[in-house]
């Protein structure tokens, strides 16, 4: 029983962080209508930016975190300026932009591998002290992951609900041409979305890489987890992305408990296939209207 609870607890902690990078994917997917493969690039970039600031420049932690957030926001803006916007201006289909996004991911992954090497890098070499919490044991970093993950997700949730410009984000996904007509600055909103996504992904990346280190090829893994979480929960609602991420994480830890850690990927993609086949709108999504009769 204790093992089950411990694994469940680990799953919930991972879920809290997953809520962040899933939202990083979800915001761009929902507003740009692009399958944002470059989110994996953002993740790996943030990991190494953190490494650069904390381990190479040896900045104090607070500065390193700020530095990473700033660099990640700039990187997100760069992706928008250099890649997404030109395609948007050309009115390219979302499939085409997805391929460009894939190109970004490939380039960034390999530039990082060239610059830093392929081996796993860690930020902190100390053994993390573990703390007892609710009868189970968690490391300090796990507790940080849990509270930071939930806290940031909730804070952004408040922004989404009450923030002036955030309502426009959903409209952007449905009818981008309408925004200039309504006097809303489309291009600035696009930058906002990308930067917000970049910051969310960066926070998750820092929390994870502090815990387990990083290597240049982790991006794809978290992209897949994040995107499956968004589709699992439902692409149309912010809190559904979080619910999907948390639920997916819990299911994965159940798989570890029942079978072994080797089969977690099967759970992830089994969930994906299930969603696609039986509930394409996601667990908490609304059945899609008939947008256009064929």
């Amino acid at each position: 029983m204790n093992l089950f609870l411990q694994l469940l607890g680990n799953g919930i902690v991972q879920g809290a962080v997953a809520m962040l990078y899933a939202s990083g994917f979800g915001f761009v997917y929902r507003s740009f209508r692009v399958f944002h493969i470059a989110m994996g690039a953002q993740f790996v970039f943030s990991c190494y930016a953190f490494y650069f600031c904390a381990a190479m420049l040896k900045l104090p932690l607070a500065l390193a975190v700020c530095g990473t957030l700033a660099l990640s926001a700039l990187f997100a803006a760069a992706i928008e300026w250099a890649v997404y916007r030109p395609f948007f201006r050309k009115s390219c289909s979302s499939g085409v932009v997805m391929i460009a996004s894939l190109g970004v991911m490939i380039v960034v992954e390999n530039v990082i591998a060239l610059s830093f090497g392929n081996e796993v890098k860690t930020i902190s070499n100390q053994l993390e002290p573990s703390v007892a919490f609710a009868g189970l044991r968690f490391t300090r970093i796990q507790l940080l992951q849990f509270f930071a993950g939930l806290g940031v997700f909730a804070a952004v949730g408040v922004l989404v609900r009450y923030g002036k410009w955030f309502k426009a984000l959903w409209a952007m996904g449905d009818q981008p041409e309408l925004l200039p007509v309504l006097g809303l600055p489309l291009m600035r909103l696009r930058l906002l979305v990308m930067s917000l996504g970049g910051i969310l992904v960066a926070i998750a990346a820092m929390l994870i890489s502090w815990d387990i280190g990083m290597d240049p090829h982790v991006g794809m893994h978290y992209l897949l987890l994040g995107s499956v979480a968004v589709f699992f929960g439902g692409t149309d609602r912010y809190w559904a992305w979080g619910a999907g991420a948390m639920l997916l994480s819990v299911l994965q830890s159940l798989a570890v408990w029942q079978f072994s850690a080797r089969w977690t990927d099967l759970v992830t993609f089994g969930v994906l296939i299930f969603v696609l086949l039986f509930r394409p709108q996601g667990l908490f999504g609304v059945s899609k209207r008939l947008e256009e009769a064929k």
Binding site: I106, M220, L266, L272, I273
Partner: protein, 289 residues
């Protein structure tokens, strides 16, 4: 000399893979990220049947093709109700499930340890052992696949696929059933992908799951995105470009690890540039929409 022949064999293998994916991507307009899964299924079927049961090549090759065709048919029924990104996602899911199974079903596949000692094919007692012999063998298989694809590309079936690709609704008004045609395309695509799988397994005589990953599927898709699809020249241009480039980089003196990363960076950049400026790729007939 052996080195050049080795490149030749790999060109042949990837050529067959590119041609198999071309049917779905170029003619069907369906970007698949699961080609490596069928490649792997073909390889493992050949390896297991010839090692465990000692079956000869003329049994194991059709068996591998048949298995891939069957799996393709089953997967097609599930995945071909989707289009565009949902389809891509479904193929990613399938690819990962196949990979995870190959990796973890150790009783059958020996998981990460792989299967070694795969026998080379032999015909009437004459084994194909040397690299030059293997090159000729691959050439024969490749020619057969190329010839088959040539016929398919000119067939009414290909015309119906192209019509569906260009406008599915309009094609339906002409009596073409989308799901039926797409499933056919999936079956052919999967079945043809088994051939390079068999070729690879018997050439290297050792296979493990790391040759059949999502990254490999993405690589195959990139061959078609960069080289072009929807005809025969595009995939060939793509294979030539993507496989010869790293060799050239090695010639320039870059160390192997650096060359591998440089190659990826180059084709990553090319992907973005080409899809923006020349969506038909280097030599293709179909512009990705």
């Amino acid at each position: 000399m052996n080195y050049l022949l080795h490149i030749g064999v790999m060109l042949g293998i990837y050529g067959m893979l590119a041609l198999s994916a071309n049917l779905l991507i170029g003619f069907g307009g369906l970007l698949t990220m699961a080609q490596a899964a069928f490649y792997g299924l073909g390889a493992y079927t050949y390896a297991l049947l010839s090692l465990k049961f000692g079956l000869p090549f003329f049994v194991t090759l059709p068996a591998a093709i048949a298995l891939c065709a069957l799996v393709g048919w089953l997967f097609g029924h599930a995945a071909l109700r989707f289009r565009n990104e949902a389809f891509v996602l479904a193929t990613i899911g399938f690819q990962m499930i196949v990979y995870v199974t190959l990796y973890n079903w150790t009783d059958l596949t020996r998981g990460p340890y792989g299967i070694s000692g795969i026998p080379r094919p032999s015909f009437f007692g004459i084994g194909i052992e040397s690299v030059p012999a293997y090159f000729l063998f691959t050439l024969v298989l490749f020619s057969a696949v190329l010839g088959f694809m040539h016929l398919v590309c000119r067939s009414p079936f290909a015309l119906s696929l192209k019509a569906l690709r260009d406008d599915e609704a309009a094609a339906q008004t002409l009596g073409i059933c989308p799901k039926g045609q797409y499933i056919r395309a999936m079956v052919f695509s999967a079945a043809v992908a088994a051939v390079p799988g068999v070729c690879f397994a018997s050439y290297i005589t050792y296979i493990d799951p790391t040759s059949f990953t999502l990254t490999e599927s993405i690589f195959i898709a990139c061959i078609l995105l960069v080289g072009g699809s929807g005809n025969l020249q595009g995939p060939m241009a793509g294979v030539a470009f993507m496989l010869i480039l790293p060799e050239l980089l090695r010639f320039v003196g870059l160390p192997d690890a650096v060359a591998a990363n440089m190659r990826e960076i180059i084709y990553g950049v090319l992907l973005i540039v080409l899809i923006y400026m020349k969506p038909k790729g280097l030599a293709g007939a179909y512009a990705i929409k």
